[in-house]
């Protein structure tokens, strides 16, 4: 499906989501509270069939965090980007690990790097950082580490 068709299809069942067509793919902004049903619909809808989550990350915008999900369909070869705005002081979002299994590792990475809590995640622990780094979120913009960071 092209960008326009995707937009029409998604507006049908999710009128609340907003779109941004600036980049190469269709960007969809979703509210955190309707995020999980939205993603389930993307995955299981016959016409969309977004079965391949190829990138899951988070961006720190200093005022808020944004979760970014890059989805693709191995059947129809169309892509979308789903974005969810999160509160920076208490970021919480539903996990998608049961929809796309790859999210389990990616969410663990985001959890330790940005401190986003994934609700109902099967195994939310530190993956890359050693013990004792809970609560420190190295990829946030205000992270300071005088020992391990070298300022040029």
């Amino acid at each position: 499906m092209t960008k326009e068709e995707l937009k029409l299809n998604i507006t049908e069942w999710s009128p609340a989501s907003t779109f941004d067509e600036a980049g190469q793919w269709l960007n969809i902004n979703v509210e955190a509270n309707e995020f999980l049903p939205f993603m389930q619909q993307l995955r299981h809808s016959e016409a969309l069939c977004f079965d391949y989550l190829f990138c899951l990350t988070c961006v720190d915008w200093k005022t808020h965090l944004t979760m970014v999900y890059h989805l693709s369909s191995t059947k129809f070869r169309h892509n979308v980007v789903v974005k969810v705005k999160l509160d920076r002081s208490k970021p919480e979002i539903e996990t998608v690990a049961h929809i796309w299994r790859t999210a389990e590792f990616h969410e663990r990475e985001v959890y330790e790097m940005f401190g986003v809590h994934f609700l109902n995640h099967p195994d939310l622990r530190l993956l890359i950082l050693p013990e004792g780094w809970e609560g420190k979120n190295p990829l946030r913009k205000d992270f300071e580490d005088p020992i391990n960071m070298i300022k040029l």
């Binding site: 600036a22 190469q24 961006v59 720190d60 890059h70 790859t102 993956l127 190295p138 960071m149």
Partner: protein, 377 residues
């Protein structure tokens, strides 16, 4: 004297005879600092839990303080076996925002180098995997061909592994005058020696028995776990970025996407071996048809990307590498995310290894082709 209790306490953890064993961070089969905590029942694997981060350098954070010209060189250190392809992904992503036309000569040079890198990477994988399985000789035979590629790289790019040959707009310097001759010599060497690979491993009955039916990954799981590259293609999932979302001149080249449907280690092995032949095919098409012209487009000295988001996916030797740049209009990226193929491919290990033997784990890790700095970034 005899400390029976201590020994028994050490070996068994929960009273039902399970044994927890640490493979890595220093272990001959992990090829790097991967740490796997394995729960064993006898020789049978019950659970695998990867512990990462031993070589995490936080490249994403580093890139936030480097300019768009500088950060490319850091990415060579992610997947060091396909360093050129990593750089390629980064420059393609930067070029999306630059509105510059890449000269055709530069495109062909980049693709040629990509494919040479791919062969070199698969060559190393082949030898190292054979060594993991206990056959030491193939390792040296594979390195003989790989060394020929490295010499070509050294002559043209000035380095053997982390070439740093790509710049936004083209490549650093023109091909070495000897390049075509050397590549043809390599092609001839490869064709003369490639049958040894079959004789030493592919047709060997011990090898086939070690690989067949080991670590079966279904197509649905491969998609769900986000696998890419030869791992997914071994399960019959068509995911070659060069075919599906072609970049550079890949849409003008004749080559096949290698697919196997068994999903076991042998299928993944076959995909990689056949992929080497496809890369040879691509190089043969291009080596006599390198267009004349500039090798780099004129670009501004200070690079600024317009505000926006850029995503570029390329096919490295290990799978799909994604570079996600968010620019705020300055000379440095606001945020960079590298979607590394190894990270997703590693997550499938627990799924496919359960119920196998320790020796199977070696075969599976070998055919997943993990490069640890790529996973840790």
């Amino acid at each position: 004297m005899y400390r029976e209790t201590e020994i028994i306490k050490d070996f068994s953890t929960d009273g039902n005879g399970d044994m927890i064993i640490n493979v890595g961070p220093q272990h001959p089969a992990t090829h790097g600092v991967l740490h796997l905590v394995i729960t064993l029942n006898g020789e049978t694997i019950k659970k695998i839990e990867p512990h990462l981060g031993y070589i995490h350098r936080s490249i994403e954070k580093m890139c936030e303080s480097l300019t768009f010209r500088q950060f490319i060189y850091v990415t060579s250190r992610m997947d060091y076996l396909s360093a050129h392809i990593n750089n390629h992904a980064c420059v393609l992503c930067v070029e999306q925002g630059m509105e510059v036309e890449i000269p055709p000569r530069a495109q062909v040079i980049r693709v040629l180098m990509d494919e040479l890198t791919r062969i070199a990477s698969h060559e190393l994988w082949w030898g190292a995997m054979a060594m993991d399985l206990g056959a030491f000789t193939p390792f040296f035979h594979a390195f003989r061909e790989r060394e020929a590629i490295n010499d070509i790289m050294e002559e043209t790019c000035g380095a053997r592994l982390t070439m740093n040959y790509n710049v936004p707009g083209g490549v650093v310097n023109d091909l070495h005058p000897n390049f075509q001759k050397r590549v043809k010599e390599f092609l001839e060497l490869y064709k003369r020696k490639v049958h040894e690979y079959d004789e030493l491993l592919t047709e060997n009955v011990i090898f086939i028995n070690r690989m067949k039916g080991v670590g079966v990954l279904s197509a649905a799981d491969a998609i769900s776990y986000g696998c890419s590259g030869p791992v997914a293609r071994g399960s019959g999932v068509s995911c070659d970025v060069r075919k599906i979302y072609p970049y550079e001149i890949y849409d003008q080249l004749a080559f096949d996407e290698v697919l196997e449907t068994d999903g076991d280690s042998l299928a993944r092995y076959k995909v990689r071996v056949k992929e080497m032949n496809q890369s040879i095919k691509i190089i043969e098409q291009l080596i006599d048809n390198i267009p004349e012209g500039d090798f780099v487009a004129k670009t501004k000295n200070v690079l600024k990307l317009p505000k926006g988001e850029y995503y570029q996916r390329v096919e490295t030797a290990r799978g799909e590498l994604g570079v996600y740049i968010i620019s705020e209009g300055s000379t440095m990226p606001y945020r960079i995310k590298f979607r590394s193929p190894g990270f997703s491919n590693l997550s499938v290990l627990d799924k496919i290894a359960r119920g196998g033997k320790i020796a199977d784990l070696i075969a599976m890790m070998g055919t997943l082709d993990l490069v640890i700095p790529d996973i840790d970034r």
